[in-house]
Symmetry: D2
Subunit: 310 residues, 4 copies
């Protein structure tokens, strides 16, 4: 086996393209004690840095490489130094630090998952330090900073919703492979994966209230899902996005990836039974997958097309 | 390749032991309509049957085998015929049916996972058909019927809880491989997997109220977790079980499998920072695993020792 | 909130049943260097100890509790002190240590998952330190020692196999919920989860050759699957077990849990096409689940009935 | 609750952006019989279509929407009509069909996962229909067609590799959060997720040999991993990509996402033992994550930056 010397770059028609590196999935839990009443922030933080990194790829010289281990340490130190007011605010502290403190680093992208907890109601109603994980959606944010402007995209995943009626599907295009029967009353269910981009980019004195924004955005999205009489999942998706744009001035762009979690009405006639929209088989695969971006008029789309990898 | 004829049993020192078969993971969703207000039951039902099944193993004769496809059909048909009052009641209907309707089947075991949903609060507060999956624990039940008596074991899994204080660990045994430092204030977190066995076995006129029993059992378990000042996870586990036995007369036995989800205090001293029980690393593996049964005095243990496979 | 004092055991009709504790999923990788040729053992080791542990449950006294952290340290130290000849041999070292070195510990159960690696074939065929994970089945073993005798149960999981013909299913029992059509040529596919119990219990001078035993047992099992013309998955399962008992004198008992991974022939007639056993839909859920024990005549069954938790 | 009428688009400052829809994860297994010797293709096919789809989002009119159920049917029908020579060729058939047969559909993207099988060696070496799933990497391809040119990106995921020596890490940048010690002999392990883009775009008479290309590309990638004496994972990544560009003229661009699967040397000194690069703890999270594109000089980068979602 050959120990490689420096690759003979001049002789080789190969170049390096976009690259980034960092420590992924740093699990940090921060407890804030307000007397006997504790508060939790429970995050999964992934750091991704890019900049002047050609040499480490070409020759293995690490002179410009701040170790991923150091980025991990920074996450934990910053949880102490800056606290965790919100995932967004925490990500902003981290991104600014990496870009401004290390000359070769030009861009930092911080991705955070947040897990929500609620208090356990004790028998004498006094517990301030006992929690049960809420377990519903995972809250997401991604902060990108290039030294001059910010991009903040927040969102959620794993939020499963269902309308047991007020959904139809008919009047569609047909070809020789079409066998589907039209549906005038069906279950509409999906597992929401959504991202929304804030229009805030630089004014550090006027940052949005990230916690309120998240709660209200989720509320509007759920209400739009519930209140839309649906002729297609695309129509419901658009209403969910439009409702957010209409109500949240801090958000210019929303993207959803919505699997159509099919609930098939079971044919009970062979058993002499009538299934009047009562008994359904919840299928796994395949599933419809509906994806779209909804924008404030005049704004540019910047959220990547793929929120999932399939 | 040889097409096998009947295995020459007499010549072979091999016999068949315990066996069972059925259709696993039948996903059934039942919508009940009370005017515009709908109700959901969302179950994952696994059927396992045993009895006079030697021939199918020895010779491949299926004469005694009700197809697993038929057991699937029965799950869906029964959702219509009997409704789904509770997972327990639904399992009882199914188990009785298989044992009493097919002579070769002597025992039926029905295992059910249940996923909880809550209503989406719409803007004008009138939605009766829009739901979001609660996403916290998965509720479990297992019904076993042998033609004469019933065994009902219910429980839950995936319920993550945390006490951010009121937990210590010290005074333990030491040997030459012990390096752990004693802890006088630590996070105690676990993901509860629990099962509880009802003492009801046969009187069909006096079955427990399964829904109330579940809600109350979960409540007592959570309160015991929250209210126990813990010197070890074993002590907390015992209190959780004992609280259930104390308060729920219909339950004689409880078993828990509690992973100790370690939250390690991060050493911030290298960065000149003091970590006063504020910043933790939530570790994945390895984890402590504490498992025990708690019994009503005089009762026999019947819940299997292994709730998980590791 | 009440800090609990010792539970008033005499006044409480609650007792402790079976209990065990330890550190689960210790991921240990051992590199052995034979000059430039390296060898890997890659294990996931779970330790479970039981014995005189009432006090820690009742009062929180840890006097009899060797910390789970210590059991973790022991796993790593033993990898150095004893090496890892085989998962079975390593588990025997660990189990003996815990039972013989700590008076309160009466029984130790060591469970191990093993992941196989194979060498990367380099361009000049000399690499001795480069590996790719094989990725097929996960090898398993469970060692239990109570101070006098040993129980060794080995096995595997996640091994997916398929016969594309030589499988039929007909002549089964029917009831009013039966709609399945008989099949005279179908795909038979399953994901094998198997366990086999060795009859070795104590003679430390005559332990089986664990590595050879595993390779041969897997080979016989696969050949029995391939060579059985199957009238039911039960019949195939029995042949797989019987072949092992017939050929491996060190094994007295085998248990399999075999999901019937349904491959449904797709109906292409609506598109004017004939599907002559060519195009299949590989379904996820539900699935048939066939489970049985096969024993050497005269031997007792000791492998637990449930290899999975559904 | 309000049944929504058409959203009042003129009055609303909201517009639709990029959108796509289709049926994801169609599991198709194709058996080809060459006498008693069978061949398997085992695919997971996801269809994603886009084009003139504004109306279905704005008003719910499905007139331009070919149902996702139809796209599923097409996958199965095409497996019969065209066979599955390779995942790439199958995806090309599908993409061309959707774009050329439905006027509103302008672009089709087909993503395919492929699972490899190998033959079970029977005792008399004649089995032609018995297979065991290989279980190593998942092969990937993505075909995109817009009516004029093709983009083919293939790749793989879940391929775990390890060098047990010939890896160092030192000479890196340091800041106040740096505590990492330099390493002069460490394990280098990763789980490869890679994609490579073919330069073929339109000449239907000169398509690459997809099967050979995949086998050779994987081989070169593994050899580059094995044969690179590594000063950083970035350097290894670059060598893996460059080796492919050097050797496979049909490929112009490669992107890798390589988690640094840390194997930490366990400190055995507290137990009086020396760990001479023998015993490692295989950690889960956090992990370094190294991502980069390697290009043929003069070519444009088109593979998306994110191969995973964290």
């Amino acid at each position: 086996m050959t120990v490689n010397s420096r690759p003979a770059r001049p002789a080789r028609p190969v170049i390096l393209g976009q690259n980034q590196y960092g420590k992924a999935e740093n699990r940090v839990v921060k407890i804030t004690r307000d007397g006997a009443t504790h508060h939790i922030k429970d995050l999964n933080v992934s750091v991704s840095l890019s900049g002047d990194m050609d040499e480490v790829h070409y020759s293995g010289s690490n002179a410009n490489v701040l170790p991923t281990d150091t980025t991990k340490n920074t996450v934990y130190a910053f949880a102490k130094e800056h606290g965790i007011e919100s995932a967004e605010q925490f990500g902003i502290h981290l991104a600014r630090h990496f870009v401004t403190s290390q000359e070769p680093i030009r861009t930092a992208r911080i991705r955070i998952e947040e897990y929500a907890w609620e208090r356990i109601e004790a028998s004498d109603a006094e517990t301030g330090h006992s929690f049960v994980r809420k377990g519903q959606e995972v809250r997401l944010t991604q902060i990108t900073y290039d030294g001059s402007s910010w991009e903040v995209i927040s969102g959620l995943k794993d939020l499963v919703v269902m309308n047991s009626t007020d959904s139809e599907f008919w009047g569609y295009a047909k070809d020789k492979y079409t066998t589907l029967k039209e549906a005038y009353d069906r279950i509409l269910a999906t597992e929401v994966s959504g991202r929304w981009r804030f229009n805030w980019t630089d004014d550090e004195q006027r940052v949005p209230d990230w916690e309120t924004s998240y709660e209200q955005t989720k509320k509007h999205m759920l209400q739009a899902f519930a209140e839309t009489y649906s002729l297609s999942l695309q129509q419901t998706l658009y209403q969910m996005g439009a409702r957010i744009i209409d109500n949240r001035g801090e958000i210019d762009e929303v993207r959803f990836s919505l699997p159509n979690k099919h609930h098939f009405l079971v044919d009970l006639e062979p058993f002499g039974l009538k299934n009047d929209n009562e008994v359904y088989f919840a299928a796994d695969r395949p599933y419809g997958l509906i994806e779209a971006t909804v924008l404030r008029d005049g704004c540019e789309a910047r959220i990547p097309v793929d929120l999932t990898n399939l």
